[in-house]
């Protein structure tokens, strides 16, 4: 057995194992990221649902509008970091286009940040009409990302 062959006999399997480990680790952290970003998204949905309930007049907690809007604005800034490359596989509805069309994705996410910011301003005014109409803009911004970049629900 020549040296090269010996080396490859040792190195190649070791390399393969190492690569496998790295891949497994990557996968594990991807799963962590996916779980995390779902939590972020769900907390956003929670605040949106709460703002909606106040805007619809179903609950009287007008004084909480600003807090919900501020929370939404804060979490809106967590979106981009929650989509690192490699986090598109696993239990996720993220579409691969997020990473192949990152600029568009980033624009859509920034737009959501912008509309959330406006919602904070409007919430401070306490005018429910304005909140409702800005809510529509926020909902549109959600869709601006979800439509091109989120897979359909599983059947």
């Amino acid at each position: 057995m020549g040296f090269a062959k010996k080396v490859s006999a040792v190195v190649l399997p070791a390399g393969a194992i190492a690569l496998g480990l790295v891949a497994a680790q990557g996968l594990e952290s991807a799963q962590g990221i996916i779980k995390y970003r779902k939590s972020v998204m769900k907390s956003q949905a929670g605040h949106i649902g709460a703002i909606g309930a106040i805007a619809k007049g179903q609950v009287p907690f007008k004084q909480d509008l600003v807090a919900h809007a501020v929370a939404l604005r804060s979490t809106s800034k967590m979106i981009l970091e929650a989509f690192p490359e490699g986090s598109g596989t696993g239990d996720t509805r993220a579409r691969p286009e997020i990473w192949t069309e990152w600029i568009k994705f980033e624009q859509a996410a920034r737009n959501f940040e912008k509309e959330s910011e406006k919602l904070v301003q409007v919430a401070k005014s306490g005018d429910l009409e304005q909140v409702s109409s800005q809510f529509l803009a926020v909902a549109k911004a959600c869709k601006g990302c979800h439509k091109p970049f989120r897979k359909k629900k599983k059947k």
Binding site: K38, M41, A45, I48, G52, Q58, A139
Partner: protein
């Protein structure tokens, strides 16, 4: 025989809701529809027609995201095959620009093409047959005013024998009751308005009511949701059942949803429904949205789970 005078007026007579679509009845009603009558589309009719168009969910199946407005091409995946939304712009060669009023009314009320071919029920004439005559003509006026686009229709992908159009005549006998919407005098005007909007225009049941093996709507399960919704999606149960439907939604939730696409839990709707809201329902007046909501709230709650077990936002 009928007098020529009978054809002179553009009256669209209500068709009895009870009458079945026997071939004789079909031919009779096709004859009843005034032929060759062209109404010059005045601006009022176009404006009214635009509202009808919105209430009919913006005819969302006839547009694609990238393509031109109403020029067709959208794939509607169903258990019976893949159908492609047709070009309904006023282009004379590839759209419906060469149609006259009775062609349009025949298509919407009877599901028959100007050449007399039966349409696949993926085109919801089963709902549109309930539309009032004036609303049909207004809708036509609006569609006649949109930008004409030259784009050939794409052939549907349906396997025989389902693809065999004459069979649709039999399908119609079994599953299609032509006739204008009939008010229920025991209910309020708002309820009747909501019923009309949901049944005739919004055609909610076309996706939210499950279908039988032949593709007819299973009316015993009206609005209880379908796992075989269009585009391979689930159409949720929208009866007021608390656990499996939208029983926890109040009227304001429904109104808000139809305006924003945002559900009470803060998640947003996706797929075809999102489109229907976007081009259609969000333009409706609040009183109309409220009427739809009241109507949906009045439905019999049906327990029917159509969501996937691990469904989450």
């Amino acid at each position: 025989m009928r007098d020529a005078d009978d054809f002179a007026e553009p009256s669209l007579k209500p068709i009895s809701g009870r009458m079945r679509a026997t071939p004789g009845v079909l031919i009779f009603f096709i004859l009843l529809i005034p032929v060759g009558h062209a109404v010059s589309a005045d601006a009022d009719a176009v404006a009214r027609g635009e509202y009808i168009f919105r209430a009919a969910a913006g005819c969302a199946c006839h547009s694609t995201e990238e393509g031109e407005f109403l020029a067709g091409g959208r794939a509607i995946k169903t258990p019976f095959g893949t159908f492609y939304g047709t070009n309904i712009t006023p282009d004379e060669q590839t759209g419906i620009g060469a149609w006259n009023d009775s062609d349009f009314v025949g298509a919407m009320r009877m599901g028959v093409s100007p050449q007399g071919a039966h349409y696949f029920p993926v085109f919801p004439y089963t709902a549109f047959t309930r539309m009032r005559g004036q609303d049909l003509l207004d809708l036509r006026a609006y569609l006649g005013a949109v930008k004409p686009v030259r784009k050939e229709n794409r052939a549907h992908e349906v396997t025989p024998p389902l693809s065999w159009r004459p069979l649709l005549r039999v399908w119609k006998l079994l599953n299609f009751t032509p006739g204008e919407f009939k008010k229920d005098p025991t209910r309020s005007p708002e309820w009747n308005r909501g019923a009309y909007l949901a049944e005739a225009l919004g055609h909610c049941g076309e996706c939210h009511t499950p279908r039988n093996l032949l593709g007819g709507l299973n009316e015993d399960m009206a609005y209880a949701g379908s796992r075989e919704g269009p585009e391979g999606e689930i159409a949720p149960n929208i009866t007021p059942d608390v656990e499996t439907g939208i029983g926890t939604w109040d009227v304001e939730d429904v109104v808000f949803f139809l305006k924003s696409g945002s559900k009470p839990d803060g998640d947003d709707v996706q797929g075809l429904m999102a489109e229907m809201i976007d081009i259609g329902f969000r333009y409706l007046r609040d009183d109309d949205l409220r009427a739809i909501a009241e109507y949906l709230r009045s439905l019999r709650p049906i327990r029917n789970e159509v969501r996937a077990p691990n469904d989450e936002p």
